[in-house]
């Protein structure tokens, strides 16, 4: 349900991750073939094994976009091929829609938004959740990323979103189509952060059901602060 990209290497040990078949707080639990550890798909936390308590590093978010959009922005892209030797449950992710947490969420969750509203989560300290639909109205919002000036953005017209550290000397960015632009005329791809004058430092964003984010990040901050009225 949630696309998250991790660096699968810790302290020089490369890990090969598989699907354990277990769920924790309605999220996939992964295992690694090298050390037989268990890992949370949602947060990257080591749950069991020699790396328990360590965290996989989450890499800048991978946007979910229509193929047409990704190809137009990245003509040299490669595309994953089907693996005919294996078959999976194509409807498995539906499972995550059928959890008890979604039906009986904590009161605080319901006060802020509909539990199944989509939020864009920033796995920072403290974690932050942005209401996706509301953010689309603003398109770009500044925030403090643990002491560094950053922006989070979500397109009104297309499905992509992201977050990026503001480059030196830039105090705001605007979103125009698929481009992030600064007042001094520089621009970057909002999908990849690539630009002619250097790349933006993109930050990981976790799109998620609001209740699921809260399950994993009970100390989260929420935007807009007072919640959204249904």
């Amino acid at each position: 349900m949630t696309a998250i990209v991790y660096r699968r290497e810790i302290d020089g040990q490369v890990l090969t991750l598989g699907v354990s078949g277990n769920l924790l707080k309605n999220a996939l639990v992964m295992y690694d073939r090298e050390e037989d550890g268990l890992w949370s798909h949602f947060t990257g936390e080591g749950l069991k094994g020699p790396r328990k308590g360590q965290w996989l590093e989450q890499l800048a978010s991978a946007p979910k976009v229509p193929w047409k959009v990704w190809r137009e922005e990245n003509p040299t892209t490669l595309v994953l091929l089907p693996d005919n030797s294996a078959s999976g449950y194509s409807d498995y992710t539906e499972y995550f829609l059928n959890d008890e947490q979604g039906l009986f969420p904590p009161e605080k969750v319901k006060e802020l938004a509909d539990p199944k509203d989509i939020i864009l989560g920033l796995p920072l300290n403290p974690p932050r959740a942005y209401h996706r639909k509301r953010l689309e109205d603003q398109e770009v919002l500044p925030f403090d990323a643990e002491g560094r000036a950053a922006v989070i953005f979500a397109s009104r017209d297309e499905e992509f979103f992201g977050a990026a550290i503001l480059p030196q000397g830039v105090d705001r960015l605007t979103l125009q189509g698929r481009r992030l632009k600064s007042a001094d005329g520089r621009e970057w791809s909002a999908l990849t952060g690539k630009g002619a004058t250097g790349n933006l430092e993109m930050l990981p964003v976790t799109p998620s059901f609001w209740f699921a984010w809260y399950d994993h990040h009970a100390n989260t901050e929420f935007w807009p602060e007072g919640g959204v009225k249904p």
């Binding site: 349900m1 949630t2 696309a3 998250i4 990209v5 991790y6 660096r7 699968r8 890990l15 090969t16 991750l17 598989g18 699907v19 078949g21 277990n22 769920l23 924790l24 707080k25 996939l28 639990v29 992964m30 268990l38 798909h41 749950l47 069991k48 890499l59 991978a62 946007p63 979910k64 976009v65 229509p66 193929w67 047409k68 990704w70 190809r71 990245n74 040299t76 892209t77 490669l78 595309v79 994953l80 091929l81 089907p82 693996d83 294996a86 078959s87 999976g88 449950y89 194509s90 409807d91 498995y92 992710t93 539906e94 499972y95 829609l97 059928n98 008890e100 999908l191 990849t192 690539k194």
Partner: protein, 117 residues
């Protein structure tokens, strides 16, 4: 959708659904009575709250993903993909494939990554 998801999961894993709660039975010994557990049972005291849904590798992660170029990809224009750009490496992971595999173990720009869904 909701019902179909459960049905597909149950059929695939050999589970039985009663009123939204999933049960399955095992016969560990010849004469032992069937042992029934619900999907809501914790399965590992070291990881409180962890439940078993299906078996390990029942959903097969991609260990060695194969790619083609954009001009050879037979994707619908509107088919959703997860796009990833690191250094000079740019790749698209069709959501339909990530649904079936959940995890793709890959390497981009020399960095081992797992694209998870």
């Amino acid at each position: 959708m909701k019902g179909a998801g459960w049905a597909a999961l149950a059929a695939g894993a050999g589970l039985v659904v009663f009123g939204g709660v999933v049960f399955w039975t095992t016969r560990p010994a010849d004469e032992a009575p069937p042992r029934t557990r619900t999907i809501y049972d914790d399965i590992d005291p070291e990881v409180p709250g962890m439940k078993a849904a299906v078996g390990r590798d029942d959903i097969p992660a991609l260990w060695d993903p194969q790619f083609t170029t954009a001009d050879k990809a037979f994707l619908d224009e509107d088919e959703p993909v997860i796009g990833l750009a690191m250094g000079k490496d740019v790749k698209a992971y069709p959501l339909s494939l990530l649904n079936s595999h959940e995890i793709a173990n890959d390497t981009l720009d020399g960095i081992p990554v797992a694209v998870t869904w």
